[in-house]
């Protein structure tokens, strides 16, 4: 574990954990965690440039595929498919490519590794809340990624394609808020799936299922409106949508701002409750080898 945890004797940690610290101190701790995780992302300059390049290439490809579909030869071109205009779909493609790293859908298994290595025992002794520890780190990471990966990718899209601007500045602000909420929903989902490590030894099957479900039901691959009705109806009420689709709908004006943000907030409430409950159950039956 990196620094960022206050110096504390491990033996006294349990006592500290039970006695709530002053509110200000707790907030400062989590802010510090977020700040360090934020800074960490700037260390890999080469990887960042490479990542922007890859996101750009994929954005161009996916956008071109949708353009070819809208301009299909036998139809002579259409501009409204399932309530989605050509420009709206192209905008979604670039928002999705730009959000990709910020919401970090793939490959975050730190909690599972923590459980499997047994390191979680030490983590649980430390004087902070395990869930909030990772959440604050994830928020710091997300802010960095949105700046160094999201913004350049979106600008690439604007430069090369007809990406729409939000209709009002209120919508743009709501979009930014919606991204923050999307990161929290994404974090909760990832945290919950990570907790599977308490019960299964090989998480890769679960990881792949999770990726497949997220890719389709979040709207990452295509707007949900293009999916078959039964799938779309289910996807419309599930939390996956809050990670990708909702920020898009808020940006494009397809949903009242408060409805979009409200949907995300409701799911955050539910997912935090589920994550904490599962964490408590897992903690209780945790068996670690060695010592």
């Amino acid at each position: 574990m990196e620094s960022g945890t206050p110096a504390q004797s491990r033996f006294g940690a349990d006592a500290v954990r039970k006695s709530p610290e002053s509110g200000g101190e707790v907030v400062r701790l989590y802010l510090e965690l977020a700040r360090r995780s934020f800074q960490q992302q700037f260390a890999y300059r080469g990887a960042t440039l490479a990542g922007i390049f890859v996101n750009g290439i994929f954005g161009i490809m996916i956008a071109s595929v949708f353009l070819a579909l809208y301009n299909s030869q036998s139809s002579g071109g259409m501009d409204d498919v399932q309530g989605w205009s050509k420009d709206q779909t192209i905008t979604l493609v670039w928002i999705n490519q730009s959000l990709l790293m910020t919401v970090y859908l793939w490959g975050w298994w730190e909690v599972t590794h923590n459980i499997q290595s047994g390191a979680i025992v030490n983590e649980l002794l430390k004087p902070y809340d395990y869930f909030c520890y990772w959440l604050s780190r994830d928020l710091g990471r997300a802010l960095a990624h949105s700046l160094i990966r999201g913004v350049p990718t979106f600008l690439t899209g604007i430069a090369l394609f007809d990406v729409l601007a939000p209709e009002t500045s209120a919508r743009f602000v709501a979009f930014l808020v919606s991204i923050v909420l999307a990161v929290i929903v994404s974090f909760c989902l990832r945290f919950i799936v990570n907790l599977a490590g308490f019960w299964v030894l090989d998480y890769r099957g679960i990881a792949a299922m999770f990726t497949a479900v997220l890719n389709v039901l979040s709207g990452m691959l295509a707007p949900l409106a293009f999916l078959p009705d039964p799938v779309r109806i289910v996807a419309d009420v599930l939390p996956f949508k809050a990670v990708i689709m909702t920020p898009n709908e808020v940006y494009l004006g397809q949903v009242p701002i408060w409805q979009g943000l409200g949907f995300q907030i409701l799911w955050i409430g539910a997912l935090v409750a589920i994550a904490r409950k599962l964490m408590a159950i897992g903690e209780r039956q945790l068996v670690v080898q060695g010592g």
Binding site: V54, I60, S64, A68
Partner: protein, 273 residues
Amino acid sequence: MDSLFDMRADLTIAGRIAALRLRGQMQYRSSFLMQIFGNFVVNFAEILVLWSLFQHFEDMGGWSLNEVIFLHGLSMVMFSLGDTVTNGVQAVPLLIRDGNFDRTLVRPMSSYVQSMVNEVSLRHVGLLGQGLLLLAVGMATVDSEWTLAKTAYMLVVIVSGAALFAALFTIEAILSFWTVNSIEAVNAFTYGGSELGQYPIHIFQRGMRLLFLYVVPVGFMTYYPSLYFLDKPDPLGLPGFSPFMAPIAACVFCIVVGRGWTFAIRHYRSTGS
């Protein structure tokens, strides 16, 4: 440097090492099956979305769903083969970073073959199976006649495409002899190339087309041969022999990358420590 005779001896030993590595992997059968299953699910979801899109749109640049599925299958088969044979080569950057590559150079065996069998994994055979399935579905559903010549040429094309992707993965390893910074950019051509190969190339903008035809010739592996297989017209108007360029383009690309590997080995300086 290596004579042909040495090369043959090398390959026999390499084959034995590869078999051993596979046997080791099979000791974790459920883990292995889990990975295959996982890859299958992720790709299946993507095909489901493709199918959904074609429920609302008529065609993609004049290509039907079945034709695009054929292209998907072809590209996936090539990619998974190229990926599988270079699993060990893809691990070279890690070896270099940790200073573990040096031992490769003191062993009496071609450094490339050694790297290849350094890690052998069948985790992507799921992708291969799926690619073959899509290819079969595509072949069965498109209206074009499958002659012996077409089938024979398809085998040549698959080998060529697999070699191209293997070479692309090797570029990443070559770059890592100088820097491990930003070599992820090559992903745009490996994973990006396989993605692009799944669609008719004429739907892309000029810059992308030139890049993926003349720099990284993915288009000559998937799209152009498919024009011949599926009897499709060429909206880009390239010469009539273009569908048959796959083996030549792959050869040229592999020779260049092979030179790069030799150059890299000669200029390798260990990280020490």
